[in-house]
């Protein structure tokens, strides 16, 4: 069974924060990773900001684990493809065994890899420390349509169930002689018999679900109340303001440097 999400049931610093504060922080970090002129700014931010936050939230091990699993193939591929085949006039090369790596390409690969650590790491840390229900509620209280929140939460719950059904369909079709191994063409022939039962079944489900939504007056107008309470203390509101100002200052400063 696959898990429904990246969320981990832990107690720590980020778990106590309002999701909006975390989202603003992630935006600021991603902005900084792209805007700071220092080489490897992203890698520095990972060590100086994301990892201490992960420690304070008791998720460091799984944070590093998931980040590596997601990014290691990308970063390796980046170093190989851009290190060996980077377009550009810079002729400087670094020999590693029989391979001539281009210096400009390796620099480009490292800069991109370091930004990726933040682009993937900041959202990952939010997802690991925020229960989806709390995240959706905080966004809905700020004006996100309720229907979007509903879609998000239901889809998250449906994926494991659908996964199980897909495995069932695959087994049933194999029992009838469907080849899921062998040559490319043979495997390609398996697509429709696997896909169509799954989708047609899902469409019939959708009809029943629509009736359930209607009968519970989900689309009725009027104020709704919440089961949970998402606290938003004044400290966090001020912190968000400071982060927005910092991001704005960073953008203005970069634009000014670019003009001069």
């Amino acid at each position: 069974m696959q898990r429904t999400g990246l969320f981990l049931e832990r107690v720590g610093f980020l778990q106590r924060l309002n999701p909006l504060t975390k989202l603003t922080g992630a935006l600021l970090l991603i902005g900084a990773a792209f805007l700071l002129p220092t080489p490897l700014a992203g890698a520095a931010l990972l060590v100086l900001a994301l990892m201490p936050l992960a420690v304070a939230s008791a998720v460091l091990r799984s944070f590093v684990d998931v980040l590596l699993k997601t990014l290691l193939p990308v970063i390796l591929s980046l170093l190989l493809v851009q290190g060996l085949f980077f377009p550009g006039a810079d002729p400087a090369t670094i020999m590693l065994g029989p391979f001539a790596f281009r210096r400009a390409g390796l620099e480009f690969a490292l800069t991109t890899a370091s930004r990726l650590l933040i682009v993937a790491g900041a959202p990952l840390l939010i997802f690991q420390t925020t229960h989806p229900i709390i995240l959706v509620q905080a966004l809905t209280e700020r004006g996100m349509p309720r229907s979007i929140g509903y879609i998000l939460l239901v889809a998250l719950q449906l994926i494991p169930a659908m996964s199980e059904r897909a495995a069932g369909v695959a087994e049933a079709q194999r029992a009838r002689g469907l080849e899921t191994e062998g040559g490319l063409l043979q495997r390609a022939r398996g697509v429709l018999p696997l896909v169509s039962p799954l989708i047609v079944g899902a469409l019939v489900d959708a009809e029943e679900r629509a009736m359930a939504i209607e009968s519970r007056a989900f689309t009725a107008p009027g104020r709704k109340t919440w089961l949970h309470d998402v606290p938003d203390p004044p400290v966090e509101r001020s912190a968000r303001l400071v982060m927005w100002l910092a991001l704005g200052a960073l953008i203005v400063w970069r634009a000014a440097v670019a003009v001069v």
Partner: protein, 198 residues
Amino acid sequence: MATSTTSQRGGLNSTALALIPIAIAINVVLGQLVQNVLKLPIYLDSIGTVLVGILLGPLAGAITGLIANVIWGFTLAPSALPFAAVAAVIGVIAGYAGQYGAPHRWWLMALFGILTGIVAAAISAPIAAYVFGGVTGAGTDVLVATFQNLGASVLGASFAQGAVSDPLDKTITYLIVWAIVIALPRRLIARFGNLRQQ
């Protein structure tokens, strides 16, 4: 607000609310099935998006694509988030394909698939080049390397890679959706409403 009715608010009625989460789950589950069980060199991770676009229209298609990528980010790989815009555009195009009545002719569906693939490649190339440095860690990176070796820039190679892989993937996606839609009972199609009747 005063004019809203119980069945239609903010562009999404209860049928859309019921179908979209299911379509998102289809995207994710089939994307995994194709890669893990059949091990085919295509993604097929937008079947649900195209299906919703055709049955419910451009808005519903865009929402499906967008949220599907956010969910990818939630559950498996946060690096899928930057491509959410591409997924939304795929849904919008599918919505227009439905309004145009494309599912009544298989070759129209194939045409829309090719078109979607080219548009998707054009939008995802700057994201792939600027955020990911042109690579994704998948088998298609070999293509990027080849194009750069032939003299293309990182952006150019990213687009060329997309222009090779995406139209094929999206054409197959559209043809699968075609096979499903023509098999659906008319009652169901009428309920969904976007698809132009023949």
